[in-house]
Symmetry: C2
Subunit: 338 residues, 2 copies
Amino acid sequence: MADIPPSSPSTLLDVARQAGVSPSTVSRILNGTAKVSDDKRRAVLTAIEEMKFAPNQMAQGLKKGRSMTIGIVVQDISSPFFDETLRGVDDGLKGTGYASVIVSGHWNAEEEADRIRLLLARKVDGIILLSGRIDDETVLGFSGQRPIVSTGRAIKTRSALGFKMDNEYGAYLAVHHLIELGHRHIAFISGPANNTDADDRLAGYARALREANIPLDDKLVVEGNYHEASGMLAMNRLFDTGQQFTAVFAANDLSAYGARLALYRKGIRVPDDISLVGFDDLPGSSYTTPPLTTIRQPLYDIGRIATHALLRIINGEEVRGEVPPLELIVRETTRRLR
Amino acid sequence: MADIPPSSPSTLLDVARQAGVSPSTVSRILNGTAKVSDDKRRAVLTAIEEMKFAPNQMAQGLKKGRSMTIGIVVQDISSPFFDETLRGVDDGLKGTGYASVIVSGHWNAEEEADRIRLLLARKVDGIILLSGRIDDETVLGFSGQRPIVSTGRAIKTRSALGFKMDNEYGAYLAVHHLIELGHRHIAFISGPANNTDADDRLAGYARALREANIPLDDKLVVEGNYHEASGMLAMNRLFDTGQQFTAVFAANDLSAYGARLALYRKGIRVPDDISLVGFDDLPGSSYTTPPLTTIRQPLYDIGRIATHALLRIINGEEVRGEVPPLELIVRETTRRLR
DNA sequence: CTGTTAGCGCTTTCAT
DNA sequence: ATGAAAGCGCTAACAG
């Protein structure tokens, strides 16, 4: 059915011989590097067709010094959070001839640096770093070898570019929404310690409260780690300590899912008894029961934009790293307090 | 902080010069190919250390004919279904020196074949094909170039291996469970047409009914496409045509999520009014409201096992492709009909 | 317009 | 035990 290349891949030299031309001519046709007479071109093209020739990318890469592959560093290959961004990257690479090798840093600075070194050894033409634990200096250092575009950091040099979402503002938006609905006792399920995004979201929570003259009650903020289970645990801890609250802001959607389940188990209705807001707007959040009110991160766009930016840097072009802002998506887990 | 390689990557030749030995000696140390005197070894090792040398993988690959990368073909890079398997692959590759380049076939036979050709041109050492639309012959053809391990097909040659889950049995399990709970009017939200897995699941649904002497009512089976939105639509269509039923079996978890939302919107309680069963057991299914009863696919294991098998084929070793069976996971969306 | 030549960075005989 | 030399498949001057 489909065109299946032969078992022993033919080389450019084979093609040249079969077409009765020199290897350079074949190369020229392949790369459009120079004019070639029509008859030779035809001969080569048919030879390529017949032999199902495809240039050996390792040889090309070795010669040209560019591998036509870019490296992507995620932290967790099976998280919906990274998936959306990966989809953006995938689409951004479409039709460019670049392929991507994806590695995972597993939220561990050392492993992350290791992975990057591995990508560098593989001669990727550039790197997209999604979140991560390594510090900016290290990123800048690596960018001496190959251009790097990273999410979650504010850097900008000739070979490194960072995008940073305004997490403080996003969290502010979420809590402000709750306050506008009349809530004054708002619990916060935070992200993991030592995570700037998580810190920023806490700051946004605090600012919204402060602005509304609501004292921040330490007992109302409980630490999570961005995973469902931690959201569930956090929710239960909140109840165990007997706190009173009418709304919960979870630092990300996944932990909101966990909180939702804890609530369900206790027979507490959402949003009738308690309002719930998440952060991220994962694809699944439109289909929770009820659909989750949340802060939308333009995950897909981030992937696309990062990719375009990286490609531009690779080609020595100017880049501007504009990313759509965070926005509140009001769905069905929040309601006015009566 | 971390070790940052210099801007201009040093080559093996640089190392050789710095250590005062020949390139071959350096190579031998790198590959453990032959005995090298201790003093030279030390000299080389420190030179490598000092110069932060890492061998150029493209050059190595070109020479050795193996790229130390394997290609993974998924259909949708941002689907939780593939994610779990990818995680298994990632873990399976850990510590092997292999990296993976992931491409997406987007459920399109032609694109899929294209991607595989691309991987072949990149000289991947093997391919893992997750689901897909191309036929077995084509896979077998490609396997002439590089070994291929594929999910969702029953093939076994020296260079191609397929794993096939018993989807018919899984669906049977799901529907049988419902029947045991006393349900007799069981709707089915199917998968897309022209998909063998989907066909098999329909067959399992039919068999369970037949075994229980329940006539299969065509009006109770409505087509979906494995996505949330289609599950929601299907559910609504079921209601629009005025069918009576007390339980729904969705061909996968995602469409079950959609069905769940449609039910919520109509104020129909799950499982009190209607029981719901999915298929896959995605990570999120433990956290739906209520947690979803479903058929568990060992997605992660499939990834690991496929990877191990591929590696063995690459190394010319014998393979046995055993995969854990499908199983029913009873959670909270099903209940006995009174 | 086209062929010849010289490598890209590494591994691997083949000598010694 | 170690070095010299050839070459993996391709591209890019350099001639003509």
